[in-house]
Symmetry: C3
Subunit: 131 residues, 3 copies
């Protein structure tokens, strides 16, 4: 589980980094709190952070349950894809929001893959216990 | 704990579904990223997703800690109420935001009930250890 | 781990409280759902809730992994700082958003401290296993 803990720390560090970029964008593009709209470039940085928050809400529970039920090594590997995918997502979103699909897919797919894996493992176990 | 894992997967799948609805609403109502305002119908779909994210942040930790300290079966049952409540919430919010109270209550109450249960179990254990 | 469970419940209760304040601000300042902009005072309450959600996404995983790998007592103590820091943050943000730095630091630093602690513990264990 050490690799899963490492992946979690790195994914959260990446999220903190996106938060720092939002904070810098506030100053650079003149969007003081509590506003979160008004400048296109600020909104890009802000949406990167918010979308990452949405994705983490699925990714982290999926990661730990999958590591427990299926495989911690596959979990860590899929987690590494997630972290790299998020970096690509952030980079492409800030340049041009319409080019965010690849990075988005590289973070959504590992989570969906792990959810399906958990579903398969849980249903199989429940059936074998019932049988 | 298999039922709790199943409930988690289903709640996350529901959240992913709400995200897909936001993505569809972006295209349908002409709200390209990074904007998240400008069309009432898009904003309804967007707020369903965001409110679900806020609720999941309370629900998932409450679910797992309650399952561990109190009862995994009650946790799974309350989790099922949450998932159905969110579906009602999403449906009524998109139709008319002022009608969202029932669905909201059906997701907030299971979480609050579980938090109170954890509090009760934790305080009781700490007191009995001290005694 | 009982103290860690207690800290989690209190942090989530605080977050629910911020949600109730947003709900009250909707009525008080006339910002009906699905809008989340249009009144400065509403936006302050709303940003307090959203920023707390962002912080919880880092804090809760960090809290539990740190409690497991490093120390549940330190985790609970740092968690208490987080909860108090968030209360200061909310109070100062609603009064004047530009005064939010102290409360922000008191919640960000415990999380970052715990992430560094996990990183240190995980790397050390991986190296000792490899050696």
């Amino acid at each position: 589980m050490h690799y899963v803990a490492l992946v979690t720390v790195l994914a959260l560090a990446e999220f903190i980094w996106f938060g720092i970029l939002v904070s810098k964008a506030r100053t650079r593009y003149g969007v003081p709190a509590p506003a979160s709209t008004g400048n296109e470039m600020f909104e890009r940085a802000f949406r990167v952070q918010m979308n990452t928050l949405e994705q983490l809400a699925v990714f982290l529970p999926a990661l730990w349950i999958f590591a427990h039920y299926v495989s911690p090594y596959w979990a860590a590997g899929l987690g590494a894809v997630f972290i790299i995918g998020r970096a690509i997502y952030a980079r492409s979103y800030v340049r041009d929001p319409s080019s965010r699909s690849l990075g988005f897919a590289l973070t959504a797919l590992p989570s969906i893959f792990m959810l399906v894996g958990i579903l398969w493992a849980a249903v199989r176990t429940l059936l074998s216990t019932a049988g």
